[in-house]
């Protein structure tokens, strides 16, 4: 009989950044393995690490507003269903939550927005896909068609996400990464990265059409769809400048589309 050794950490690597989630609860670690399949990579020393304390179900709700602020140099992340604290100096923190994948998912999103803000990147309310070695991002609010467009993706396109796109600036330009942050598709994206070719702002309409747009409108579109939670003037300014830098360097266009596969003929 083979007995698997107990472990105490799941390392989740998204956008080239690994976050170790430590817990003694094997069922919770198994839940993370399933939730983040494709993004679990064992690391000798993850970039960031959180100790999870599993609490009994309480009165807090995931529908409560999230708060992210700094106190005594430590980030405090709070919502009805979790409370986390993170020291950016030691890159270590703690999370208190119930055994569910949604609370940790939100904590991961927040941590990545904070880390990316200092590195010239951000998360966008956007679907994204890689085609012919190039990444395309499709930004829009709920109902704009992110999941619809992802479902219509042809076989030669790899969907990076149907909900939260990961964009970061690297040597040579901007890159999009796959994320496990899924929307209605309820499926993690492909764990790939590719140079960002174009950002489309989505509109559903009567025809398939790509239109150019002015840089100010493009900037408004990008900023409207940027995820950022922290009550922190310095990081808000950093994200603002990153978003406008992207608009200067990467084409941003309006994509009006009908829910049909032919729309992908415009995305090459």
């Amino acid at each position: 009989m083979t007995v698997a050794a107990a472990r105490d950490r799941a390392d989740i690597r998204i956008g080239g950044i690994s976050v170790g989630v430590r817990s003694s609860n094997q069922a919770f670690l198994q839940l993370l393995d399933e939730r983040y399949a494709g993004f679990i990579e064992c690391s000798a020393s993850p970039d960031y690490e959180f100790e999870v304390e599993l609490a009994s179900p309480g009165a807090g709700s995931a529908d409560d507003d999230v708060r992210v602020y700094r106190s005594d140099g430590r980030w405090q992340l709070e919502r009805g269903d979790f409370r986390a604290e993170w020291d950016p100096a030691t890159r270590r923190g703690r999370i208190r939550q119930t055994a569910n994948p949604y609370s940790i998912d939100t904590v991961l999103r927040i941590v990545h927005t904070l880390v990316l803000a200092r590195q010239g990147g951000f998360l966008l309310h956007a679907a994204s896909a890689v085609r012919n070695g190039k990444a395309f991002v499709f930004a829009g609010v709920s109902g704009a068609g992110k999941t619809t467009l992802s479902r219509l993706a042809p076989p030669d396109a790899d969907v990076l996400t149907d909900e939260i796109s990961y964009v970061r600036k690297e040597a040579g330009g901007y890159y999009a990464y796959g994320t496990p942050f899924a929307g209605e598709l309820a499926r993690a994206g492909e764990n790939l990265r590719a140079p960002l070719e174009c950002v489309y702002l989505l509109n559903q309409g009567a025809e398939n059409r790509v239109s150019d747009m002015g840089k100010a409108d493009a900037a408004r579109g990008i900023l409207t769809n940027t995820l950022f939670f922290a009550e922190d003037a310095e990081l808000v300014q950093a994200v603002f400048m990153s978003a406008l830098d992207l608009v200067e360097r990467v084409p941003v266009r309006r994509l009006t589309f009908r829910p049909e596969t032919a729309v992908w003929e415009l995305i090459q």
């Binding site: 003037a233 300014q237 406008l244």
Partner: protein
């Protein structure tokens, strides 16, 4: 209204000209603002030490065919509006310690 009023960009904002518009984001609450051409001129000249009347005379009346009194009145209304949003400081005295936001670029 006083003609010796002074305006300065708030420190906790990020601002950048893009596509002919001055886009400004408040660091306090992430609110996004965009200014038209003449408002952008006022914003860029708001150094805290040049009187508003002088900014209007030099940067707006000099380049646009407008009535100076009306231009100043419009500038004061705009300044008060931006001050209400917390992205511009407005004072009857110079604001020498204020200045452009550290990460702003024209």
């Amino acid at each position: 209204m006083s003609t010796n009023r002074y305006v300065a960009r708030a420190n906790n904002v990020a601002a950048r000209m893009i596509g002919g518009e001055m886009m400004i984001m408040s660091g306090a609450d992430s609110s996004l603002y965009s200014l038209n051409e003449t408002a952008s001129i006022l914003w860029q000249a708001a150094d805290g030490v040049t009187p508003l009347a002088q900014i209007v005379e030099k940067h707006i009346c000099g380049d646009y065919a407008v009535d100076p009194a009306m231009a100043l009145r419009d500038a004061e209304e705009l300044s008060e509006e931006l001050a209400r949003h917390g992205i511009l400081l407005l004072s009857d005295d110079p604001l020498p310690d204020s200045g452009p936001p550290s990460k702003a670029s024209p």
